[in-house]
Symmetry: C2
Subunit: 196 residues, 2 copies
């Protein structure tokens, strides 16, 4: 029996993500993807049941990879300031190393696909970060807060900075680049808000 050409599946996934990032979900199509990946449309249907499953699997795999990456060198037992810094660094580094992946997820987060995706993902990620928050509270390193309030203050500013960086400008500056110094400055503010 003829073996699968791994390169072909990889190309389908790679070009799929590229296409959605560059042209949006509405600019994405199976026939177009097949041409870009150098395969027949029918080949795509060997790997994926339909268009929806293809997109959903792309989401799941990328999100999974990102979450795994963000837990590198991290443990819920870490002191609050140290643990949050690791989280921020991991997220930034993932973005710097895989900008397409992060843009892809940011796009998909606001589509109907993401609902299904977040259900399919293991709750491992939320559990670990929830534990980290509770530990920090018990150690007196973090003011007691509802999880959503905590999350909004702890992570949303970072993602907003990344968003500014991706679009290359903000409301008043016509060009903007994110660097370590800006990130540290922002993280310091966040820590000031969250520490007792």
């Amino acid at each position: 029996m003829r073996p699968r050409d791994e390169y072909k599946e990889q190309q389908i996934r790679q070009k799929g993500i590229e296409m959605i990032v560059k042209e949006g979900l509405d600019g994405f199509g199976i026939n177009k993807l097949a041409k870009a990946a150098g395969v027949s449309p029918a080949t795509i249907y060997i790997y994926y049941k339909d268009k929806e499953e293809l997109i959903t699997r792309l989401c799941i795999d990328v999100a999974d990879k990102m979450m795994g990456f963000s837990l590198q060198n991290f443990s819920p037992q870490m002191d609050f300031a140290e643990g949050l810094k690791v989280q921020w660094d991991n997220r930034l580094n993932y973005f710097l190393q895989h900008p397409l992946d992060m843009e892809f997820i940011e796009i998909m987060r606001y589509t109907n696909f993401y609902e299904k995706v977040s259900q399919m993902l293991t709750n491992n990620f939320g559990a670990i970060l929830g534990q980290f928050m509770r530990n920090a509270e018990e150690k007196g390193q973090l003011v007691p807060l509802p999880f959503e309030v905590y999350w909004s203050v702890a992570y949303a500013p970072l993602y907003q900075l990344i968003k500014f960086h991706m679009q290359g400008n903000s409301y008043i500056n016509s060009s903007f680049t994110l660097d370590d110094k800006l990130m540290d400055k922002t993280l310091k503010l966040v820590l000031k808000a969250l520490k007792p």
Copy 2:
């Protein structure tokens, strides 16, 4: 000469926003929209050159309305804590009164349309909020910061809370509702971070 039926144009816009919010940009189509709005497809082309212009104009008008709303009862001369509270309240109230509008903009923000839209919008909004930041700095009510860092800390947490509210859950809670109390709690943290 026959007068325009204002109701028809209004329906086109209203149903257009609804359709994109419910089915996403890829689920949006002119023929479908015409059916939903109770008009002929050709009628849509009386008001809009093509699909792209229709979507762009929807974005511009909604974004414009939102920005105007967020400046209600606000002046760049306000004290920092007071001015930021007005901004937060205005944004939350706009969301509560026009949830579809805000969902619509949040979706469109991550599409290729938004780039064109943000160019077409008056810079008035950024100018006023930039002035507010500088005034607050001079009064010693706000730590000196690059605009993007300030913005990320000052507003991103609110939008993250609204996002949690829209999707009805977060990473660890299966149900979540945003209320005034949670918002005040979050705003207090943000002020703590930004005040000298």
